[in-house]
Each structure stands twice: as structure tokens, then as C-alpha cells.
Symmetry: C2
Subunit: 252 residues, 2 copies
């Protein structure tokens, strides 16, 4: 049995907050501390970005020429579009009300992963960027919570993405540590001795999605969840391993 | 807390088997019967297809001209390609070792969702098609297990799909009943009174993905899982609601 525990009572996070201490307190009050083998702590991008001081005051952003053009096309705030462009390596799609880019981290997503909702009262003019290096952030958090030598315990940094062929968002991993974000099973066989057709499993995405069932979206959202009872395969790879290079994109 | 219970001890399923009875027995022996509010039973496509007799003997399949051409391009078995074409409304991508189509149910996936692994010993020449109408199958299973008037209990039929921009497969829903497969929150506000940016949530996909953490892939796979402790939003839509029409595909 795998349990998904939402972590309530996490205070509003501000730049410089020690996220590990906050999460340890929350896990303790939920009776989930200490972490143990088979635990994966899922932390939403939102609180990790806030702790890292990734909030940007939009009034300080001067849109350039490309941002002004794209803002006209997409009918979005030109300052926001400027931030999206700074965060991205390529524009995938720009039509009215839609701006999809390849983020510099490799993920293809709407609005460069920039969040304007739920960032705190009276902060309408601010935007929250993704963490600078979510895989590194996950590793640092894991070391702080479980010690550098811990085995069988993982951290996933989650976000919500839309998908090309399907309606609705699902949780995805933008950072991971302590587990193989991508599980490679090429060469393994099924129980009848036939070679597996499915050979790569996006474990960190699956964990992020499962956590979303407990953390939710919007009004009742909570910023973290603990999955307990997983059997983590050996090996370790960050969420960067989940990014498919453009030249490998077989669905286009 | 949400619990994901893998359902072990499900016997090999054959055409005509009464899946509801088999699953009720498994739930009973796991101490999970009767179902209660907040339960969603996730059934893998594989056992639902087997129960519906969707196994095809490849030696009975005569590939047509298009199948022969696509088989040469993709280096796949022409009989399999013929089945894929019969199951599909459009070819999305055909390159060596890759055949991605839009299934007649609307889902974009590899090999028309046809499964050749784990279908039983000595059955190398057989292929397993998707259920004819997984949303209807889910509804019938829900009625059989929980009664036609049951509320707050759901069924999801799961499969594993690759994704265009990301490595690795994740669980997705190809059938659903008793819950809104797609949750539409347009017009709702976050806790600061700002309109939600994320407005549609692929709930059934999220549930299918979470279940995959317990059901797994390959050698140790189990064919069903029960999620207990969910708070299902009101409304009901099948997995068909998750299909994004081609003309709305904003990522291309």
C-alpha cells in the first residue's frame, strides 16, 4: 500500500526561508517524521521558488521588441512575456491567449512556468519564476532532510503542465533527487519471458502526478505531500532526464 | 490521506470472464470490500480487453496495401500494422520502429494501443486491442460493483502512453465512470481571490497515473488497484472528455 499524505499547516513561504526546516516541522506535526525508506517528499514548485526568492516585481521589467510583438499576438502582459522569453530557449506556439515555450530547463510549457496565481495577497503585479536549478534544489533539500548518505528516500519538485493531445493539466516533475526520475528497463522481460515493449517509465512524473491528488489546485491547494510505501528502483537521475530533445520528438 | 492498494491474486483473465466478480473477490480478500465513498477502482486496459475478447490471432490478419507500406517504413509486422490502421482514424507519425496514430477513440498513442507483451504464455502470435468503448465498460463495471445509484465511487480504465516532449511513459485514463474525468474550474478563484490560471484538471489521468505506482509495468505488474480516500468533485465525464480535438492542439 502506498499512502499519499498532504502536508497542511505550512506557513506562507518567503525569500530566504529555510524550506527544509519548515517541511520537517510539518512532517513532525503530521506524525510522519523521520523520513524512512520508500518515502518521497513532493514539494510544489511554488514554495521552492518563493524560498529561492524567484519573485519578480513586474513594474521593474522593461519589455523588449520581441516581447512587445509576442504580447500583441498573445494578448498578454508584455512584461510577463519579457520574463517568459528570458526564461526560454525557444517559442513553440504563440496565438491569442496562448504562449508555449521551451523553458531553458528543457520543459515545454505554457508561460515559461511563470505563476501569477496564489502568490500572496496584494501581489497582483508580481510573477514567480521557476527555481534556477530544481534538480539541485531537490538534492539540497534531500541532503538537509535525510542526510547526504540516505538511500531509498526521494524528493520531487512538482509543477502542473498541459499536454498537446489531451485536455487538462497533470502534475509533472521539474526536479528530483534520490530516485531515478526516468527508469530505464530496456532489455528486461515480462513474466512470460517476452521483451518489454514499454521500456522507459517516467517515475518522477508519476510521483508528482500522484501527489497532485492530495495537494490539489487553487483554493484548497496545499504546497507539499509525502508519498510513503514506494519501492524505489536503484539508480538516480534528475528531472532533466525526462526532457526529450527536440530532434527526438516523435509525435510531431 | 489517500491510499493506493495494488490488487494481487487476480487470476489470468479470459474472454467472457465476469470481471466484476473477479475484482469483487480480489477486493474482498484484500479487506477492501465493500467499496465506499471516495474509492476509485483502477483497472488496467489489459484485463478489460481480455475479458471483452479483444485478443486477435495475428495469423488471421491479412495486411492491405497501406499496412504493407507502413510496415516497410516502420519495420513492424505488417499484420500488426494492419490492426493498428483498423483501430485508428489518422497516422500521426511513422518512422523506423515508431508508429503513432490517433486511435478511433481519439487518443494519440503508439501502435494503436495494441499490446503484445504479457498476454499469456505461448501466445506470441496474438495481439490485444483496446476495449471497444472503455467509458461504457467502466460504467458497466461500476454499476455491477456499486449499483446503478452509487455516488462518490469511480472506475478508471488505465493504459500507459508516451508523451511528445518528455521521455518515459505515464499512466493515462482511456475509460472512466462515476467521476469527472476532466474537472472544469473555469471561473473559480484562488485563496487570494484571483482567477485560477489552471482551469481544467485531468483528474482521471491523474488517478490512472497514481495507480501505476502500485500496479507497475512488466514482470511484477498487477492488473488493478484501489485508490481510497479521494474527494471526488461533483459531475461526471468519461475519458472521451480528455481527448483534445486536432484543431485545438496548441502545442504543435
Amino acid at each position: 500500500m502506498i499512502a499519499i499524505h498532504p502536508l497542511f499547516d505550512i506557513p506562507e513561504i518567503r525569500a530566504g526561508d529555510h524550506l527544509a526546516a519548515v517541511l520537517r516541522d510539518s512532517l513532525t506535526s503530521a506524525g510522519l517524521w523521520p523520513l524512512k525508506t520508500g518515502d518521497v517528499l513532493v514539494v510544489t514548485q511554488k514554495i521552492m521558488s518563493k524560498a529561492e526568492g524567484r519573485m519578480v516585481d513586474l513594474s521593474t521589467v522593461q519589455p523588449g521588441e520581441e516581447a512587445l510583438e509576442l504580447a500583441a499576438t498573445t494578448r498578454k502582459d508584455a512584461r510577463l512575456v519579457e520574463l517568459v522569453l528570458r526564461e526560454s530557449s525557444a517559442v513553440v506556439r504563440a496565438v491569442p491567449h496562448v504562449l508555449i515555450t521551451r523553458h531553458r530547463l528543457g520543459h515545454v510549457m505554457a508561460n515559461g512556468g511563470i505563476d501569477r496565481s496564489n502568490i500572496g495577497p496584494g501581489e497582483e503585479e508580481r510573477a514567480l519564476l521557476l527555481p534556477v536549478d530544481p534538480d539541485r534544489s531537490a538534492r539540497e533539500l534531500l541532503d538537509a532532510l535525510a542526510g547526504p548518505g540516505a538511500a531509498g528516500i526521494g524528493i520531487v519538485v512538482s509543477d502542473s503542465f498541459g499536454r498537446p493531445w489531451r485536455h487538462g493539466v497533470v502534475g509533472v516533475a521539474i526536479g528530483a533527487a534520490g530516485l531515478p526520475a526516468l527508469v530505464d528497463r530496456r532489455g528486461e522481460e515480462d513474466r512470460d519471458g517476452r521483451r518489454l515493449e514499454v521500456t522507459q517509465i517516467a517515475l518522477a512524473d508519476q510521483i508528482a502526478t500522484a501527489a497532485t491528488l492530495a495537494t490539489g489546485e487553487g483554493a484548497e491547494s496545499v504546497p507539499a505531500a509525502l508519498l510513503r510505501g514506494l519501492t524505489l528502483p536503484p539508480g538516480e537521475s534528475g528531472a532533466a532526464a525526462l526532457v526529450r530533445p527536440l530532434e527526438e520528438d516523435l509525435f510531431r
